[in-house]
């Protein structure tokens, strides 16, 4: 078998070594063509023209935050909430977070959608992605299906990795600290005339929450190659795989789920061909495949109702996604830009444990999308829509309209209205978890196969201010109307359940309205200082028809986060991050999670050993107090770790 690594190395060998310049210039250096690299999709739309509130988490913020895991970064975004089911299962959501699978977010890594079709949510610890390879994260706060596709419901997280051409040849990183933190990352980058590629491999381990059986051992390998052919064409190939051992337990009755270890394997392959004749025009074709497999087999504790019998139970599931997308960007008239495209996707879930069938459950989603941007000196209009049809919930249209009025070049006011839908995930619509012993059938989850898609109508009044002196502010007042919210409710009598005649059944039980205000500040008073502040006030009203999962307190009224960093002389950088989260509904109890304050500190020193550029850092997390999670049993004590990173040119 030819392994991807071999192919990469062969390709690298086929191109000449690093381009050596010729001795003299010629007129062709002035008159000749230059490959188009800043294509339309690479150029970020200015925040003042964007149809939604956007927060960008850049490399400097990633470093200064001291975060080891990607989900922790989203605490820096206004209105975002981060929770953990256990040490390796993080949930990131916007405006509401009331369950461990954050199903209402679109999450993209280099344009590849990574939320799972099985339970929804993102298996963050299974992503074959090093935090060191991330260039920036664009967080779109609000629905935007016309641009980001299905499931762009509450918001979108778009992770963009760094182009290998911009990375040094070698990188090594090691982290070690309390709570069994052991991380190692190694990256090799090859630079050629037309091909730049990287291979990153890493290991991440920690002990999870001290009171839980939830340690992580994650291993991953990722590849990216950017091949340029001709002046206008590029082919980007990405692939990755991860193989994790994750400890599991439950904060509820442990009989069915005693402490054990589960295995997850995932891999992906992604190809993107881009034809771009100028920064204004681009045509691209993208194909990717995601594979995720969880092997989770347990032997129950003795079950009293069955005379102390211990049963083998499976919680395994496997999901795959194939996605093909075409996109065309051009300017049909002066001051306008049209982005349109189409895609087809096949999601497939196999899980005898949760679906009670050996057959895969498939969902094919086809969509057509378009967005027209029209710019005038004083305003910008973005009008877009996505039409989608899928096997689970049928056809829907997600339109969006935004008008950005530029009061002055520094002050922009935005009015926008958008609608998006969320298709039920496989477990919600087709779930059928049955544990059977002889004639006794206990139904653990049931999907009625007739669920409607959830809808959100979001209206906002936004402001973007670039006030000069290094001060940027964004603010928004909004109102979200959510309908057909899917949760489960214990239904009794449930004739299919011969154990206790009841079962949790998914349904479109609830509606909710979220109103609030949020603001983000990015202030660079001097090149050595930076302050990032995010504040959100969130008020949720909900029908709360389901007694199992409620929405009314799924977000605290107030959240505040601040990150301050300073570069000292002598190559030192210090940073302080403070996060306040108000009282909110806990996940594992009927009571509330108390307000929490989290304080993280980081001190880093840069150094040089020959041409190698190094950075040593010392990070203290939860320095203020023990941090009580949204699951009250998830308590994070003071954590300290040291990190050394070497960039080898």
């Amino acid at each position: 078998m030819i392994r991807p690594v071999t192919i990469f190395v062969c390709l690298a060998g086929a191109v000449p070594l690093a381009a050596r310049g010729e001795a003299t210039l010629s007129e062709q250096d002035f008159l000749g063509e230059v490959p188009v690299v800043l294509s339309a999709t690479r150029l970020a739309q200015p925040l003042t023209d964007a149809p939604a509130a956007i927060t960008v988490i850049d490399r400097e913020m990633i470093e200064a935050s001291g975060a080891r895991d990607i989900p922790d970064l989203f605490r820096l975004v206004p209105g975002f909430l981060v929770g953990h089911d256990d040490g390796h299962t993080a949930a990131v959501s916007y405006h509401m977070l009331n369950e461990v699978y954050s199903r209402r977010m679109q999450v993209l890594v280099d344009g590849r959608s990574v939320y799972t079709p099985s339970f929804g949510g993102v298996p963050w610890s299974d992503l074959p992605l090093s935090i060191d390879d991330i260039e920036r994260i664009e967080v779109i706060r609000g629905p935007n299906a016309a641009t980001y596709g299905s499931n762009s419901f509450l918001g979108i997280i778009s992770i963009i990795t760094r182009h290998p051409a911009l990375q040094p040849t070698g990188m090594l990183r090691a982290n070690a600290g309390t709570n069994d933190i052991h991380d190692g990352t190694a990256r090799y980058v090859g630079h050629g005339t037309n091909l730049d590629y990287r291979i990153t491999t890493g290991y991440r381990a920690d002990g999870g929450f001290p009171s839980r059986h939830d340690s992580t051992q994650a291993r991953y390998l990722s590849l990216r190659g950017d091949y340029r052919f001709g002046l206008y064409d590029t082919l980007r190939v990405e692939a990755g795989a991860s193989d994790n051992d994750l400890q599991e337990d439950t904060t509820f009755d442990p009989t069915d789920y005693p402490p054990h270890t589960k295995q997850t394997e995932s891999h992906f392959e992604q190809l993107r061909w881009r034809h771009s004749v100028s920064t204004a025009r681009e045509f691209s074709v993208q194909f990717y495949h995601n594979y995720h497999n969880t092997r989770d087999e347990v032997l129950t504790l003795p079950i009293a109702a069955l005379g102390g019998l211990q049963l083998p139970i499976s919680y395994s599931y496997r999901s795959e996604r194939y996605d093909l997308e075409l996109q065309d960007i051009f300017s049909p008239a002066p001051n306008t830009r049209l982005v349109w495209g189409a895609s087809t996707r096949r999601d497939e879930v196999i899980s005898p444990a949760y679906l009670n069938t050996n057959e895969p459950i498939r969902n094919v989603t086809n969509r057509i999308f378009g967005n027209l941007e029209w710019r005038k000196p004083h305003f910008t209009v973005n009008a877009g829509a996505m039409w989608e049809n899928n096997d689970f919930s049928g056809a829907s249209v997600s339109p969006r309209l935004a008008i950005n009025y530029h009061l002055t070049p520094r002050h922009t006011v935005r009015l926008s209205a958008s609608r998006a839908t969320r298709t039920p995930v496989t477990i919600e619509d087709y779930g059928n978890q049955v544990n059977a012993v002889g004639p006794i059938r206990d139904v653990g989850l049931y999907g009625p196969r007739n669920l409607k898609a959830e809808t959100i109508d979001s209206y906002e009044l936004g402001y973007v201010g670039q006030l000069g002196g290094g001060l940027d502010i964004d603010a928004k007042l909004y109102r979200d109307e959510l309908k057909h919210l899917i949760t489960y409710e214990t239904v009794t009598p449930f004739p299919g359940d011969t154990f206790n005649n009841e079962a949790p059944v998914f349904g479109n039980y609830d509606q909710a309205r979220i109103m609030g205000f949020e603001t983000g500040v990015n202030y660079r008073p001097t090149p050595a200082d930076r302050l990032v502040v995010a504040y959100a006030y969130t008020d949720i009203w909900s029908t709360d028809n389901s007694s199992e999962v409620q929405y009314s307190h799924a977000a605290p009224f107030n959240t505040l986060s601040t990150l301050y960093l300073h570069r000292f002389t002598g190559q030192y950088m210090g940073s302080i991050a403070f996060y306040y989260t108000g009282k909110m509904q806990a996940w594992d109890s009927l009571s509330f999670r108390p307000p929490t304050k989290r304080l993280d500190l980081r001190l880093a020193k840069e150094f040089h050993v020959g041409a190698t550029h190094g950075q040593a850092a010392f990070v203290v997390q939860h320095a203020w107090q023990e941090d009580v999670g949204i699951k009250l049993q998830n308590i994070s004590p003071l954590t300290v770790y040291a990190s050394v990173k070497l960039d080898i040119p």
Partner: protein, 349 residues
């Protein structure tokens, strides 16, 4: 086999030169349809006769590096400019680069051209090696290449050049107008362009900008040094260099500068299309017209009256609207910008 550049390649028979009277040939084409009367035919013969090199030493030879494309544009503008001075049009002949040495030795008997205009680097190199005993105007050449050729093949002092590069003052002025808040201009120099460090510093001083210069000696240092440089500068001025800034390195320069959100002031139209904020550059047409003026001056001037190498007088400016918007920079009115640049240069002259 040693390369023979100063003799006729073996097996190649120098063809008749009659078919290459480009200028008369054009005239024939336009006049032919009017040949109805013998008197016209006579006039035609007279016309053709007039344009023959009666005074061969007064003619201009255009030696193009290649046919077609930018070189043809240059030649056509050169001729158009000549016809504007119709009262005294010198004879203009396009001589293929391959036939140059043969033509030169053949012409030496009759006196040959008054001035040779080389168009492009290949032609410049071939002519510099031949060291013709005629004044040469090296046009469509980068300044550094001209300097290298002159030091490698020192020739008579009555040579001159019309550079393809823009003067640093003009590029810096554009940087100032395009990025109003910029104070520090980053420049990355290589082994070739490092010679211009002093000239750049002087130009920056005059324009009131602070120059931040880094030098590299190996392509592998590019990204690292560029990143360092961009942290210390507000705008990046691309200076053409065979090692640092060329078609191959442009993609990495654009990716890196965009990552730091620093605008690039470039020197070619293609660079702007690929993602630079803006560029000031001269088209082959503009250069062709200016070259004619210089060549005519060299032809007319007394020996010893040296025409100094020149920068392009006419230029175009192009902005990438998408890059400007993405970097939240204003898109200026190009014509107004050009006028401002010209005015400032006029004042300084």
């Amino acid at each position: 086999m040693p390369l023979r550049t100063d003799t006729v390649p073996s097996g190649r028979i120098p063809s008749s030169t009659a078919g290459r009277w480009v200028f008369p040939a054009r005239r024939q084409g336009t006049v032919r349809k009017h040949i109805r009367r013998p008197a016209f035919a006579l006039l035609l013969i007279l016309c053709i006769g007039c344009s023959f090199p009666v005074h061969a030493a007064d003619g201009l030879w255009l030696v193009l590096s290649r046919s077609g494309g930018a070189y043809a544009e240059f030649a056509s503008a050169f001729r158009d400019e000549a016809t504007h001075h119709a009262h005294n049009v010198p004879d203009i002949r396009v001589v293929p680069l391959d036939d140059l040495s043969v033509e030169l030795s053949a012409a030496s008997a009759t006196g040959g051209p008054g001035v040779i205009v080389s168009v492009g680097t290949s032609a410049a190199r071939a002519i510099a090696k031949l060291r013709p005993e005629r004044p040469v105007l090296y046009a469509l050449v980068p300044r550094s290449t001209y300097a290298t050729l002159m030091s490698q093949y020192p020739g008579p002092s009555d040579n001159s050049a019309l550079y393809i590069d823009q003067p640093y003052e003009r590029q810096l002025e554009l940087a100032k107008l395009a990025v109003p808040n910029a104070k520090r201009v980053g420049v990355l120099l290589g082994p070739t362009s490092r010679a211009s460090r002093t000239a750049l510093t002087r130009a920056a001083l005059r324009s009131g900008l602070r120059l931040v210069v880094h030098e590299i000696t190996d392509p592998s240092q590019l990204i690292d040094q560029l990143s360092n440089l961009l942290e210390r500068s507000d705008v990046f001025l691309a200076i053409p260099d065979p090692l640092v800034s060329n078609q191959r390195t442009a993609p990495n320069i654009l990716l890196t500068t965009y990552r730091y959100r620093r605008p690039v002031i470039a020197y070619s139209r293609a660079y702007v299309r690929a993602g630079a904020l803006c560029a000031v550059y001269s088209t082959p047409r503009q250069l062709g017209a200016q070259a004619y003026g210089l060549a005519a001056k060299m032809l007319a001037d007394n020996p010893g009256n040296h025409v100094a190498p020149q920068y392009p007088r006419q230029f175009d400016i192009r902005f990438n609207e998408y890059v400007a918007r993405s970097l939240t920079l204003p898109i200026p009115d190009i014509e107004a910008l050009k006028r401002r640049l010209l005015n400032r240069e006029g004042v300084k002259r």
